[in-house]
Symmetry: C2
């Protein structure tokens, strides 16, 4: 784990984005990949991208998984909430001025 130009200590910008999306609504992997695809205007992330990212966040203790039939729903832990809050603050400070007023 780095600190990086990416975003704090959560596996870079992808981890940050995932954590943010999960904070709004717990989702399973494919659902998450779909949401990211829409936001980025690209095709869905490959399994080789999304699952390792989720695994990393889980190992950091930022998310937990809960089996729900065929899928696994991921949601933030308290640690994850806290890390996201910090990362958000930094993100906003770093990119201040980019969003239109």
């Amino acid at each position: 784990m780095r600190e990086g130009g990416d975003c704090c200590d959560m596996r870079g910008m992808l981890g940050f984005l995932i954590l943010f999306l999960l904070s709004k609504k717990p989702m399973h992997g494919q659902e998450l990949a779909g949401e990211i695809a829409i936001r980025k205007g690209e095709k869905k992330l490959s399994p080789g991208t999304i699952y390792p990212a989720l695994k990393g966040l889980k190992e950091l203790g930022f998310i937990v998984e809960e089996r729900d039939g065929k899928t696994i729903v991921y949601s933030l832990t308290d640690r994850g909430e806290k890390a996201l809050k910090l990362a958000k603050r930094k993100f906003i400070k770093t990119f201040f001025g980019i969003f239109p007023e």
Copy 2:
């Protein structure tokens, strides 16, 4: 060059940030590193980070350099302006909701 979770085709988030900062004011490398350090609340990027990033942007035709005594001042080209505009749009769409309303 990829398309990436980073930001479009400008060497990732760092390139994006650099381009954004240069669009507000032409700067030389160390000045840029200082500005980024303030925004991120970290120490200045190492030379091994900032100069390759600038070199990459130059090779993409997004910035030009002009020697000014001891320093080299970088500024955006028209291509750079255009690329930044596109990247900003994508950035805003991708991270919509992260900035407080």
